[in-house]
Amino acid sequence: MEILAYTDDHHRFRSRMRAFLEKEITPWTDQWEADHITPKWAWQKLGRAGFLCTGVSPEYGGMGGDFLYSVIAAEEMAKTNHTGLASALHSDVVVPYIQAFGSGEQKKKYLPGCVSGDIIAAVAMTEPDAGSDLASMTTTAAEKNGGIELNGAKTFISNGINAGLVIVAAKDPDEPNPYNAVSLYIVEDGTPGFKRGRHLEKMGFHSQDTAELFFTNCRIPGQNRLGQKGAGFGMLMEKLQQERLVTSICAQAAAELILEITTDFCKNATDRNQKPLSKSQATQFAIVEMTTEVKLGRAFLDKLIAGHMAGEQAIVDTSMAKYWITDMAKRISRRCADLFGDYGFCEACPIVRAFRDVRVMPVFAGTNEIMKNIAARFMGL
């Protein structure tokens, strides 16, 4: 019994994408990890092959696919075992802001490039001193003389170096209520006053460019505001649901991949007596227990995806999925590593990169503690 109704078209899309990634992307990932960035041509290759922004309508060059195409794309990207080509972030988190809230002109200007991979998109919410506390952001956007002047700093911005377009959350300095003060703005690469800071060194996510962004008297045209003035908080809240769902999908896919690699290893590697490691009872139980956790996450997630596609509001369940599945991926990475013995602490071991990469998931897109706070609030606790 399957919860999600994948069609033959979906299956064909998955096969095509998997073949494409195996040939064009996966062979490069070690290099990109070492380089600490993924080249822009990889994005273009992916876009031109039709694997970016599958939800954008054909009018703007997309395929107008349903959300299951996004799910497939996120799952298949996870199999490349690197994070630099953050296509799910681009396609299903950032670009939807433009799809949903952009003017006709903005869509015409930006969406085709997002689909083709010529424009890499990022969203800049988090600030150095605010963390998950969005209401306390301090970046300002003063609208004057038909133009807008941005001042402030953002941090932990994924795709921060590569981004050709950044959606920036900033406050009207004249509005005292923080919930009415935030608007979203589109800032293009090369705008004077927009500078990228250090490429941040991290535990993992090495091929992903995570950066600080600085805006110093950065002037953008008045038409670069996205949606209504002061409506930024609401837009963020709305889109954060999908961001958290996409994070859950990526974490689920990562957990499945880590466990699959580990299970295969235990079935094939043998001890001194040529007995496969998977014949040891403790290893069997570990694999069974982890497989159960992965299946639990999958059933809950699929149900959530189906609800999301049916337009259901599921703030509580989405928050729960985000925290539980990302924690589960982390737990699985820790426990799987043990099954490799000393190989499990060598970077050559195929799950060690994932061990480092998944550790950020319980932290980003709203920490898991924030998820629990949200769930508690919406449960009336």
Partner: protein, 390 residues
Amino acid sequence: MHFELDKSHKEIQKAVREFVRAQFDREMIIEALKTGDLPAAVRKKAAQLGFSGIHIPDEYDGGGMGLFEYVLAAEQMCRKDASAGMALMLSGFGAECLFDPGRKNLAEKYLPPVAGGKMRAGAALFEPGAGADISGTQTTAAASGDHWIINGDKAYVPNGITAGFYVVLCATREDADPPDSSVNTGDQQSLIIVDADTPGVTTESAGPTLGAGMVDFAHVGFQNAAVSVKNIIGTPGQGLDRSLSFLNQARIQAAAMALGTGQGAFDRALDYTRQRSQFGKKLAQFQVTRHKLADMAAGLESARLSVYQAAKAFDAGTCDAKTAAAAKLTAANAAMTAADEAVQLLGGYGYMTEYEVEHFYRDAKTLEIFLGSPGVLKDVIAGGLIGKLR
């Protein structure tokens, strides 16, 4: 029974803390993680102050102290920087097999340079595909005139590339006929010292590691490597027992490193949450943050006692394999829990290299696997608990 540290022990802790404050500066650490080794000057200083060779007998230029004092030093070092602490405290890894009385000839040659920080050692016990099981050593040492001719392969040897000598567990044979790799004489195993520059010794780095970034792990191969017949530690057949005793000791050492690693992560999390505000409150005012810190601290405190107890028992000659394994199991788990929560409490900063806790997380996981992942340790503990069954 009493639980207070003696004055001399507090002084050791204080001296190590002063050392690391002076020596483990961030710039140096970041550079050492890139090169994969600590600067020679730091190693020399640690040796001069008597830390890295704290447990080496004083007649061989060591600190002449016990495992308990080693544990105190290793803990405080790793608390400041786990990678650097491991690198220093594991620099003589395996040299412990020469501490026994009656090893004078070998000890005189090999221990002073280790104690002086001039030479590293690598215990070569484990073999490819054998996991933590050392009972069926396949590496052979055949007696041929004045020499042992050694053949075989050892896996994941710490200091595998940089060691000046290896302490190699071999199946010893009486004759020098063509080495038969299928030989497996668990009851006739011996530890033999092999200089790293012996012809026939090859090394292959295990590559970068998740943590322990200043220790080099390597696979070491022996192809007709000939060493003096005097390089045997003790007499033929004593190797397995000696290795198992060394493993107990090494697990307590690793447990102490894990303890320090977890404590280091906790320290940083406590500092951060006391200083950082969010939603108008200090993070340390949120009940859930407080509970996390309480759990971390309670776990580390009780693990600390297990490690100290095991070390004291080892020094008294009463530490069995179960106690050593339990100390490592408990300490590594407390360390991983603390490091993981520290990453979480620091949020985005927890994942950034600059804030150090990501580093503790990787070191803690490395220590959780090194010298026995939880499953291996539980096998050992259970063996001691259950004993033989009719």
